[in-house]
């Protein structure tokens, strides 16, 4: 039986729009075994105080599965899916549940610096002591050295540590360590109303603040069985596409800067700045933080907002051919670098290697617009760059169509103080974001926002291994690896 069939055979808890099936321990183990040799994507793995939850996707088919934690243990998924190990380490650090038979039991978020252990457990423990400096898997061979990069970088970057094991200039293995930016966001969100908690969601990852807020709003609205008004849904899409263009321009600019291509860096920075200024005029904030809230949007678009956005979009459309021309040397530099193929993590990385998943295909607002998905096949850093440029062009088209046909009506609805459980998703500049939450009389009882970065880091590590040390920075930037969003 496939993993999804095994899950569907179990009884379901009410969770909208995708039910959550609660599996008995043996069934969960059977699901784990089935995952070892099928192509179902593991979108996320998280916990609450009693259960561990997994979110899986096969095509557009999404399903959630849960297993009860008994005596602090649950059967691991990392034995079948190595990428699940980081989720399991995160679950242990936050809730104290241990993955039985897991492939990696090192700490992830908890670096031994917190005043307590397992902060989301009903009974947090005493701090476990220092784990710095971290232990990395090493190769005990002659001539092999370790190169530590980060967590504090020379450039203006997020804090992440990348440990390269290299022989000469050749990288044999790359291993990331994150958790530096852990801010205790989940503990801060618990017990608050979704409207209040939206402020934390907006600050999970600023470059994807709109996308995270939209995914969270979708999850909340699904849990309560309500829908945002059509005008709010359209404005959210306007902001999401605007954010995508600005984010892609930032990523292109950073790559140009790292490659020493000043004309492209300047051009991308200029277009990005014009977009951010238009966002400030239209929505009151350059990054559009706190503009999307559960139930709708915080405020309607400013009276001259649509005109400002149109101006910025027209300027960007006019500049696209020259951007494309200036990108040629960058594409030459990135050609063949960091190939990621044979798996579909979705997002830019996935769509650079074939028809990758796009969470917008699940959003009815985009149904009428039609997603012209740019298709690349090479899966290298250059393909990822081309996907970004093609997506900017596609977002321009959608943004214009959305602005020209903004539905009239209210921009938000009041949320009932009810109980329920929901899952929401949105496509960020990197890929799909999945949010799950359970509401208890209008307050958040449990929540987990799953950033696209969880899927990207393991793939980037594999893509970096085998290449020369000098390419590491370009591959890292081409994957646009985040930290804050998955450090929680």
């Amino acid at each position: 039986m496939s993993a999804l069939a095994l899950i569907r055979a179990a009884g379901a808890e009410p969770c909208r729009p995708w039910p959550r099936h609660v599996l008995a321990r043996p069934d969960w183990s059977a699901m784990a075994a089935a995952l070892a040799d099928d192509t179902t994507a593991l979108l996320g793995l998280w916990a609450d105080t009693l259960q561990v939850h997994a979110l899986l996707r096969d095509g557009d088919d999404v399903v959630a599965a849960s297993v009860a934690v008994e005596a602090g243990l649950y059967p691991a998924l990392s034995s079948a899916r190595p990428a699940a190990a980081r989720f399991e380490r995160m679950i242990r650090d936050l809730w104290g549940h241990n993955a039985e038979g897991g492939s990696d039991d090192r700490r992830w978020l908890d670096h031994g610096r917190w005043p307590l252990a397992h902060p989301l457990s009903p009974r947090p423990g005493l701090p476990g002591g220092a784990v710095e400096p971290p232990e990395f898997a090493s190769l005990d061979e002659p001539g092999v050295m370790q190169i530590p990069l980060g967590p504090v970088h020379g450039a203006i970057e997020e804090p992440a540590h990348l440990r390269l094991t290299a022989r000469g200039e050749k990288v044999l293995r790359a291993e990331a360590r994150l958790g530096y930016a852990h801010k205790g966001t989940l503990a801060l969100m618990r017990g608050k109303s979704p409207r209040t908690a939206a402020r934390f969601v907006a600050r999970l990852a600023a470059e994807a603040t709109v996308a995270h807020a939209v995914a969270f709003a979708h999850a909340t609205e699904a849990a309560l069985g309500v829908e945002a008004p059509p005008r709010a849904a359209a404005l959210r899409a306007v902001m999401a596409e605007h954010e995508r263009m600005a984010g892609h321009l930032d990523d292109i600019g950073r790559m140009a800067d790292a490659a020493g291509l000043a004309p492209l860096h300047t051009a991308a920075g200029r277009q990005r700045e014009q977009l951010l200024r238009a966002a400030e005029r239209a929505f009151g904030h350059r990054l559009m933080m706190d503009t999307v809230v559960p139930g709708g949007v915080a405020a309607d678009i400013a009276p001259d907002g649509a005109a400002a956005l149109h101006d910025a979009v027209d300027a960007l459309a006019a500049a696209l051919p020259s951007l494309q021309r200036r990108m040629d040397p960058l594409l030459a530099r990135l050609d063949g670098l960091g190939v990621i193929a044979g798996t579909d993590p979705g997002g830019v990385v996935g769509r650079a290697a074939g028809p990758g998943f796009d969470a917008r295909s699940l959003d009815p607002v985009y149904g009428a617009l039609g997603l012209a998905l740019p298709l690349e096949h090479a899966g290298d850093a250059a393909a990822r760059c081309r996907v970004r440029l093609a997506e900017i062009a596609d977002s321009l088209r959608m943004l214009r169509a959305l602005l020209d046909a903004l539905p009239a009506g209210p921009t938000s609805i009041a949320l009932p103080a009810e109980s329920g459980e929901g899952i929401g998703c949105a496509e960020s500049l990197r890929g799909a974001l999945w949010h799950w939450l359970r509401l208890d009389h209008g307050q958040i009882a449990a929540v987990f926002p799953c950033d696209s970065g969880w899927a990207l880091w393991p793939l980037a590590e594999a893509a970096i291994a085998g290449g020369p040390v000098e390419d590491v920075e370009m591959i890292r930037l081409s994957c646009s690896l985040p930290a804050s969003g998955l450090d929680l």
């Binding site: 917190w114 970088h153 804090p159 801010k183 600050r203």
Partner: protein
Amino acid sequence: MQPARVGVGPVIRPWRRPSLAEPAGPVDAATTASLAARLEAASQTRLGHSLAIRHVNTGSCNGCEVELRALRNVFYDLERFGLRFVESPRHADVLLVTGPLTRNLREALEAAWDATPEPKWVVAVGDCAVDGGVFKGSYAVLGGTGASVPVDLTISGCPPTPARLLAGLRALLEANTR
């Protein structure tokens, strides 16, 4: 040695496109005055008329970072004021700190501070670095840069706009060159 040949080059067209750089604008007098008082004791000759800035991320959501990167675009172009980002704290005059200071990054900030030569200035950028911002009170954060190292200047905002960042940094520069 052959003299350089003077030939007829391409005709230079008049440069008609106006500069995109923001007008310099006023600097907050109160900030300047308070900083000037502090800086008077230090030798200005050692700092000269430029400042080398090292960014230290102490757990930011990346919002301050994207706006700091914008300081290098053609609209703000901070290098025209003699301000520049450097890669090592050992080359820095200013530590520009973002984030609520997570417990996991406290040592990294202190190591950067220790490595920065005197005289040095610490600028806390963004509401998080000022006092922890929305993350204040969390078990995982210490609540702002000041919980670990002495802060000389704060620039609030979530995130502060590049214009605001530039005004704050220029106040530091002006106080320094007085």
